[in-house]
């Protein structure tokens, strides 16, 4: 497969909503260890709002408007830090997708890169701070590598999920430097970051929805 179309992206969002529901307690548990115990509830609420809008979203004229609408929905329903961050990810991704109704691997890499840069500006986090950036940033590199290796979308997503998983588990040994977990300092070591985990789940949902 060389491209992803709108109906596949709709399937992805539906899958992501389901996955957030299934992992609500798990994400909240991770967040209660070193944060404020609301990540699972917030992600479930946000993606559920997106799911309620899927009929409308499936009529989007291009992927830019699909992602923009998704981002705005997440911003207005998640709250906390995750709302602006995931919202910004989709909003900034939409900026480079005007008039696109299909994504090839280059589009995918470009929109992820723009989205992640937006998240970094909003949250001021870097790799190693024990945040979702530890999953999002290596994901861009993974797509670049797949592009250079001329891989199919499926192969690229397969690799991306592996890299994302590695990024997610890498957060366990890190000291949190952003968000509420940062107040724990060294006590945050040994706990996997909840935001990195939800980011991994979103990539995993994409791979599964498209296969």
């Amino acid at each position: 497969m060389k491209t992803i179309n709108i109906s596949q992206l709709i399937k992805w969002l539906e899958k992501a909503a389901l996955v957030m529901q299934e992992n609500k307690d798990y994400l909240t548990k991770l967040d209660s260890d070193i944060g404020d115990a609301d990540h699972g509830f917030n992600m479930e609420r946000g993606f559920n709002k997106v799911r309620e809008k899927l009929d409308e979203l499936s009529n989007s004229k291009d992927i830019a408007s699909l992602f923009k609408n998704t981002g705005m929905t997440l911003i207005s329903s998640i709250g906390g830090a995750s709302g602006p961050l995931y919202g910004t990810l989709f909003l900034q991704a939409s900026m480079v997708l005007k008039d696109k109704t299909e994504l090839n691997l280059i589009d995918l890499k470009n929109c992820l890169e723009n989205g992640v840069n937006g998240v970094k500006l909003r949250g001021k986090a870097s790799v190693g701070d024990k945040t979702m950036i530890d999953v999002l940033d290596p994901a861009i590199q993974s797509l670049s590598d797949s592009l250079n290796a001329n891989l199919s979308i499926n192969e690229a997503l397969e690799n991306l999920v592996k890299v994302a998983e590695k990024g997610m588990t890498s957060t366990t040994d890190l000291i949190a430097k952003k968000g509420r977990a940062s107040y724990l300092g060294e006590r945050s070591i040994g706990h996997q970051d909840a935001g990195a985990t939800s980011s991994y789940l979103i990539f995993k949902s994409l791979k599964e929805a498209i296969n």
């Binding site: 609301d38 911003i75 830090a81 968000g179 300092g185």
Partner: protein, 356 residues
């Protein structure tokens, strides 16, 4: 979990409906959620708006009213409200004088209020964000999200609200708010954890004979966990942490009208000295009774008197809470003539009322 709730998902809405029923001076909007004064904003008056996760009542909704806030945006329990909420709320009350958002330093609140300020400024509604970061329990700002916004918020909302009422413009209100933040210091402690209704169980574990010194208003860990001890000793730990806190400098992200973007500025809090005059607050984190708060105030006053620091105004009670947590916080704000003038001005809100 034993709580006075109907359905977990209705906790915020039912609280708002109850406030509207109890206080005819307030009006609520549910989609999106905000609380405003019943009376329309006077033409040209700066609107002072705050907001944050719910669970800290009476802050912020209980401080909406004459002489204090124009509006408040409640989020879910311990979760920041969203930019569309703040945007709609600001549009509902703004009347040509601009908007001042008072934002406690929590990652979620800061990001959501920044997005709201971007949306309002891009529409030509002049909006400035003022950060409150007064929790001395956080020593290090380099490797953390910085000092948290706690007790000084209440004092700032009162003072800046009065200044806006007296005709200060947006820049003057912002300047005064920055001054209050730079002169405010707080520290809290927990005897027990608190339970978020949606979670159904305590936010953190703490043994019967332990206390957490330096806790945040969501149960964030503080400086240390120690064996439970007397009110006097606990008060001394909190007070000395505040009085011995050194100069503290932080970077702030504030809106720059000329470049219509964010600009980094720096603000320093000078350490407290003998001779200082203070507004003091001894605050319950939710479940600690007033009788215990006065025991804390007694010791606070004794220590300050010894160090020739005078407590010229005070609040003793539950003003910024953490749901049902047992524990307290101490806040000191170094006063000057301007600060005391606006502190003493009349205020008429559900949570704070005097002078009329």
């Amino acid at each position: 979990m034993k709580k006075l709730i109907n359905k977990v998902e209705d906790v915020i809405v039912e609280q708002m409906q109850g406030m509207a029923a109890a206080h005819p001076n307030l009006k609520i909007n549910l989609e999106p959620k905000y609380i405003v004064r019943n009376e329309a904003t006077k033409k040209g008056k700066v609107v002072i708006i705050s907001g944050g996760g719910s669970g800290h009542e009476p802050m912020h909704g209980g401080f909406v009213g004459e002489g204090m806030l124009d509006a408040a945006c409640p989020g879910e329990v311990f979760t920041s409200p969203t930019p569309d909420q703040m945007y709609e709320c600001a549009k509902a009350v703004e009347n040509g004088g601009g908007v001042l958002f008072l934002v406690k330093n929590y990652t979620g609140d800061v990001m959501n209020f920044e997005m709201a300020a971007e949306m309002l400024n891009s529409e030509g509604i002049e909006t400035q964000n003022i950060l409150i970061d007064d929790d001395v329990a956080v020593k290090d700002s380099l490797y953390t999200a910085g000092r948290r916004g706690v007790g000084t918020t209440v004092i700032m909302e009162k003072i800046v609200g009065a200044a806006a009422e007296a005709g200060y413009n947006l820049e003057e209100c912002a300047k005064l708010a920055r001054k209050v933040n730079s002169r405010g210091r707080s520290m809290g402690m927990a005897l027990t954890s608190c339970t978020v209704p949606a979670a159904g169980k305590p936010n953190f574990e703490i043994d019967e004979d332990e206390i957490e010194i330096g806790v945040g208003i969501h149960g964030e860990p503080g400086r240390k966990r120690i064996a439970h001890t007397s009110a006097d000793e606990i008060t001394a730990i909190l007070t000395n942490a505040i009085l011995e806190d050194e100069d503290y400098t932080r970077d702030l992200n504030e809106w720059d009208i000329e470049s219509s973007g964010w600009k980094k500025t720096s603000l320093t809090s000078e350490s407290f000295k003998s001779g200082d005059k203070m507004i003091a607050m001894v605050n319950s984190l939710g479940s600690t009774p007033v009788s215990e708060l006065y025991a804390v105030y007694r010791k606070l006053d004794e220590i300050c008197t010894e160090k020739k620091i005078s407590l010229v105004r005070n609040l003793v009670g539950a003003y910024i809470t953490a749901l049902d947590m047992q524990g307290c916080s101490v806040t000191l704000v170094r006063a000057d003539e301007e600060i005391l003038k606006f502190w003493d001005s009349p205020v008429n809100t559900p949570g704070l009322r005097w002078g009329k």
